[in-house]
Amino acid sequence: MLRYLLNRLMLAIPTLLGVATLTFFMLALLPGDAVETMLRADGGNPTPEIIAAERARLGLDRPILVQFGDFLWGLFTGDLGSSSWTGKPVLDEIMLRLPVTLELAVLGMIIAVVIALPLGTLAGIFHGTWLDNLIRIFAFGGIALPSFWLGMMLALAMLWFFNWLPPLGSNSLFSDPIRVLQQLTLPALAVGYRYAAMLVRMMRASVIEAMSEDYVRTARAKGLPASSIVRRHIVPNSLLPTVTIIGLEFALMVGSLVVIEQVFSLNGLGRLFVESVARSDLIVIQGIVVVLTIIFIAINLLVDLAYAAIDPRIRLGRG
């Protein structure tokens, strides 16, 4: 088990390095002079001297491989460089926004899991019935509705019916959890719905597959009641592929976060990302991609843990 985790961790390192390398070169090889575009971000009009000085300050006048080495070393020491927009360390900028994004993501995930697992199980064990069809339509809806549209419509509906919107500003989960919940529940519903839809589909398919497995036939041959077959035999086994999807779909959810944070003015990484794109703040963009990748890898590691907890074949190793 420990070895399995270590193994997973070791596998994550090259991926992370790869992402860092890819983003670095993708942004470094941008056409045009990045520094100049940065300096103009505010509509300013820098002189060539200022541009040259800024290049030197950022170390961009050195050979690209030296810069790359620096970047990797910085990554290793937790230094992601400084924002070319505010001049503050990118890590600070990111850490400021990270809690909101994480809270939103986790809340969305919780909502999704809470909705999806029972619905997916129901749809699976009653597949082909009207209940299944209803749940499937619900799931297709989650996949089909664009998050930004759904989020905006939810916000407008809240305004229209209750003249209420989630509170503004930055709230700490630890000092004011209620306010954080108020702030994040609506956006989390918007991102969670899509997530839930994916999970419902997976859970349903897994349940249907599990129902035709030999061990379910064995359980029936034992004369177990259907409820206990579902509870003990079908659901635990169907959870395995679904849990994997929870990790993989996180990447898709981040996409929704980008627009949802925009819609609800949440001060998260997604919004910072879009703003940084508008400001051509490449160093921040680079930092966000790296941090999101780390989160993605971490979440998948957690998922692997959960997987191992459910599946004795991994927990205990083969044979």
Partner: protein, 304 residues
């Protein structure tokens, strides 16, 4: 819980084979969602393909005297802030969405499938390196990757289509498809007929092209369908953020961008119809994809 495993009927036997329903009725009975999805898609494809002839107005034709008109006989879906006919824009927007969605999906899936098949078949270092690379791409959230790509590559209009946009949407599809193609190939590779082809002295390229690729056609079609809906959503989201299709081209995401939602309460049609159009197309593609998956991979629909 009672009907989880519906018991067989202990009734009289069928004396003769019961009359079988015509094939199309069976199809509708077995895959109601898939059939609905297919029908809707056919209608949408035809309507947006023939937008040039069907659309009542030029989608770019402005009428400053008639902005934000409510749906009426002249303008079935109303008009937008430029007085442009919303129905025409929705139709032409469908053309944009389908073109970008389908082409990005096919480009991404095809490259992905080729990479996946080749790496799984050849194995060794090639597989190892490619797999790492694809894992790297997979680790970057889809939307973020697409955003970085459009932000860095800029625009590259070829015949009015932003080719870079298509690429940016297609690239995140590549590792996903490659992963699926790879696992399929690994399964197929274990099949004796691939061994047989090798012992018959066929070259690797022949085996890949004639013996493996055709057997991946099923999952490939399923995934292309799935990715089309993903691509359409990404296109809409990018356009919504102002980084996708360039105005004034009709695009559903673009129709919702900018100040559109400011009119949501006074002129709701300008946000409802494009949103519904996106949802309907993606909905239909998902339903079709699911049905295709059931048809091509009966294991997933076991017990049907």
């Amino acid at each position: 819980m009672r009907n989880v495993f519906p018991p067989p009927s202990h009734g009289p036997l069928w004396a003769n084979e019961p009359k079988r329903l015509p094939n199309w009725v069976e199809l509708i009975r077995n895959y109601p969602f898939g059939v609905v999805g297919l029908l809707v898609l056919v209608i949408i494809f035809v309507a947006s393909g023939l937008a040039h002839w069907i659309a009542p107005y030029d989608p770019l034709e402005t009428n400053y005297a008639n902005t934000l008109a409510a749906p009426s006989l002249q303008h079935w879906l109303g008009t937008d802030t430029f007085g442009r006919d919303l129905l025409s824009r929705v139709l032409y927007g469908g053309r944009t969405a389908l073109f970008i969605g389908v082409s990005a999906s096919i480009i991404g899936s095809t490259i992905g499938a080729m990479l996946g098949i080749t790496s799984a078949y050849i194995g060794g270092w090639f597989e190892l390196i490619l797999e790492r690379f694809l894992e790297v791409l997979l680790a970057i959230p889809t939307m973020i990757l697409a955003l970085v790509l459009v932000a860095t590559m800029g625009r590259n209009l070829v015949f009015g289509i932003d080719f870079n946009l298509v690429l940016a949407i297609a690239l995140p599809i590549v590792p996903n498809m490659a992963r699926i193609a790879r696992s399929q190939t690994l399964t197929i590779r274990r099949q004796a007929y691939v061994d047989a082809a090798r012992t018959l002295g066929f070259s690797s390229s022949r085996i890949i092209a004639w013996h493996i690729a055709p057997n991946i056609a099923g999952p490939y079609i399923v995934m292309v369908t799935t990715f089309v809906s993903q691509a359409i959503l990404i296109e809409a989201s990018l356009s919504y953020l102002g980084l996708g299709v360039t105005a004034p081209t009709a695009s559903w995401g673009l129709m919702l961008a900018g100040n559109a939602f400011n009119s949501a309460l006074t002129a709701p049609w300008i946000v409802i119809f494009p949103g519904v159009a996106i949802a309907l197309v993606v909905f239909s593609f998902s339903m079709l994809g699911d049905a295709l998956r059931d048809i091509f991979d009966p294991k997933a629909s076991a017990g049907r």
